[in-house]
């Protein structure tokens, strides 16, 4: 069955969207304890002093999902995931910079 005729309008999760811990867990369908573990390991950095008042940027959702995949698929612990994700981000920035420089010097 195709729904091609209908144009779907989704909910936009951009940088202006911040989620409380309950909502954040609901989006990920995970327990609160898992999110608290991610914060303790430094994978996620919420705003607010305590779990009940924490808020997370919607942009952190892919990071939390990637964490779950990395833990399940590679068998690494959360401290290693935090390190991996930070290194991936650094690599991304370096690649961007390198590409800029290459464009400057090509031809």
């Amino acid at each position: 069955m195709s729904t091609i005729d209908r144009i779907l309008e989704g909910e936009m999760l951009d940088e202006s969207v911040w989620l409380g811990i309950g909502e954040f867990c609901a989006y990920l369908r995970v327990d609160r304890t898992w999110v608290i573990e991610l914060v303790d390991a430094g994978v996620l950095e919420p705003r607010g002093p305590s779990p009940d008042t924490w808020s997370f940027p919607a942009r952190a959702l892919p990071r939390a999902r990637a964490t779950e995949r990395l833990v399940n698929d590679l068998g690494v612990n959360l401290a290693a995931v935090a390190l991996i994700l930070d290194l991936i981000e650094q690599r991304r920035q370096l690649e961007r910079r390198l590409e800029e420089l290459e464009r400057l010097f090509e031809r």
Binding site: T3, E100, L104
Partner: protein
């Protein structure tokens, strides 16, 4: 259906121990994991690897797979033997973890309809089990122009679905999704109820689209800002000329500073992706010499004679 050589996928001999298989999986998983890998087709390769591992890590499945014999080749046309699965004792709940994501070969031998999954599927359906459908996350590449102007994007998905009798089948699905102007890379669109249907009357899951941009020949986006590398002639840079600069919204005129340098970054405020606030466009200057010609040479000769300049003064030469 095509035969899958799981040993070849994992790069181990048929005599490999379970430990060898585990080590090979870990090594290849690090190489092809889509969250980490820069390899081409990482996602596809990782799926193949997971499928191979799913079978080879499980002594029952591996033994059954080995019974097919060693003469099959990767990609060869394949039909399962009529007595497939006979003579094996199956543990309950040992069906494929994500059979819908795997190949037809896997689904036929180890997935929803195979003896390996029967116990699990039937058990669920008969007990009146109800659960919310799974959420799906799909990475969607869009063009920077679509992000700038907004538009609709057609997305093809292959979604695993559970049939009422507990079998998992893969259904292709086409969705048209509205992309609002000003989305940026990494942004997500949540389509409620577009994930897997619920089981036993449970609510359907959601579909989450994670947006990324297809590489653009001119512009590079970072958040809502875009960067363009702009070639300029030496005299345009030296004299601070006004030059035409392409932006996502069309060409604009930009005045260069007098004595502009190669690698200098200039900002066109608000010319990036729209939003609140809109992004900026950064223009990275690249100084390009004119092609060799008698006129150009003559003028360079004149500069050589008349402009006192040692570019290597700092090097002490």
């Amino acid at each position: 259906m095509r035969y899958k050589d799981y040993y070849e996928v994992m790069g181990v001999p048929r005599t490999a121990s379970q430990d060898d298989i585990k080590r090979a999986y870990r090594k290849l998983a690090r190489k092809y994991h889509p969250d980490v890998s820069k390899e081409k087709d990482a996602e596809e390769k990782f799926k193949e690897l997971q499928e191979a591992h799913e079978v080879l890590k499980d002594p029952e499945k591996r033994a059954a797979y080995d019974q097919l014999g060693a003469d099959w080749r990767q990609g060869q046309d394949f039909r399962p033997p009529p007595d497939w699965g006979k003579g094996f004792e199956f543990s309950r709940g040992r069906g494929g973890e994500a059979p819908g994501e795997f190949s037809d070969f896997f689904s036929e031998l180890f997935g929803g309809r195979s003896p390996f999954a029967e116990a699990r599927g039937a058990g669920r359906a008969s007990r009146g089990f109800a659960a919310a459908g799974q959420d799906h996350v799909a990475r969607v590449e869009i063009d920077l122009e679509d992000a700038f102007r907004g538009g609709t994007r057609t997305i093809e998905l292959r979604s695993p679905e559970m049939t009422p009798d507990g079998h998992v089948i893969v259904k292709p699905r086409t969705l048209r999704v509205s992309i609002p102007a000003g989305v940026s890379e990494g942004q997500q669109i949540r389509l409620a109820g577009q994930g897997s249907p619920g089981i036993g009357g449970g609510p359907p899951g959601d579909l989450l689209l994670e947006l990324s941009f297809r590489p653009h020949p001119r512009f590079k986006a970072e958040g809502r800002d875009v960067t363009l590398t702009l070639p300029v002639a030496p005299w345009e840079a030296a004299l601070g000329e006004t030059v035409a600069v392409p932006t996502l919204g069309g060409s604009v005129d930009m005045k260069l500073p007098v004595g502009a340098r190669a690698g200098q970054k200039l900002r066109l405020r608000g010319r990036g992706l729209p939003g609140n606030p809109s992004g900026d466009q950064f223009v990275l200057l690249k100084i390009v010499l004119p092609p060799d010609s008698p006129q150009a040479r003559q003028l360079f000769e004149q500069m050589k004679r008349e402009v006192p300049f040692n570019p290597r003064a700092d090097l002490g030469s």
